[in-house]
Symmetry: C2
Subunit: 149 residues, 2 copies
Amino acid sequence: MSTKEEKFNNYLRAKGLKFTPERKIILQEVFSLRKHFNADQLFEKLHKKNRQISRATVYRSLPLLVESGLIVETLRCQSKVSYEQIFGHKHHDHLVCIKCGRIIEFRNEKIEKLQEEVCKEHNFKAVEHRLGIRGYCSRCLSRANKKSS
Amino acid sequence: MSTKEEKFNNYLRAKGLKFTPERKIILQEVFSLRKHFNADQLFEKLHKKNRQISRATVYRSLPLLVESGLIVETLRCQSKVSYEQIFGHKHHDHLVCIKCGRIIEFRNEKIEKLQEEVCKEHNFKAVEHRLGIRGYCSRCLSRANKKSS
DNA sequence: CCTTTGTTGCGACTGTGTCTCAATTGCAAT
DNA sequence: ATTGCAATTGAGACACAGTCGCAACAAAGG
């Protein structure tokens, strides 16, 4: 099993790209953030740490991290693309609370299997899939019941 | 079974809003477009027909149509929110070709059931769910095979 | 007729993300 | 170490979807 750095480096080399200091810093920061994050949060955090890396570089690096298989584009929340670390994580799906924004992860093998079947039926070669269920989480539901008008 | 107009009107009245001529025109146009569309396509079409309805009004009306249950926000394609008519249609999910953009709809009862179970497990009240599988459609696959380099 | 409340269009604005371009850097070959 | 060159960077301008504030307007009720 290789490290994140190795995996990213291998990807970059294979494409004739360089593992620059900026990319190294971005890689580290991505994995020091919580699992779900977006471009701005990443930029902000770098900025606060006085890592002067431009917005453009941050935005340019994220697709590289996606292509290298370290992170993945997940849901779009409030018109922002949200990313998620997948290095060393299994695929899973999301319950998204539309009230508090909480993201609950789940994995259901049967659903995964059924998706494969659907693709087979349609001669479709899946690259990626996302199942997002939007609604109200248990906390928000119980809170709503307590102070029901 | 009520018509689209009645359903929209009922929703509006219930919220103390009005079924204005602009909203009527927008409603008609939405249902004369093909099933999947976005705000700009709608605006363009109205414009071409010399229906002088402002962009702002179009953007303001779409959330109303969503809340009234006539249309639904589906996938985001190329940073645009895409809508879909659901009046008189059953829920379904999508295979999206990342090469040609084709959208293939499917419905799988077992997946729907399993999703309900997942929600129950997490005490989650689903409002809406989207399953999008992105990949290559059969046409694009066979085309790629023919002229494989 | 007058008031209230919702609606519209206009244009300015916001915010995310992209692009251009000149200057710089990393790396391999010399 | 030096050179050559492609990749990279930062800065700011730009593109574009979507939103907002505001003044004029319309509908409904008293």
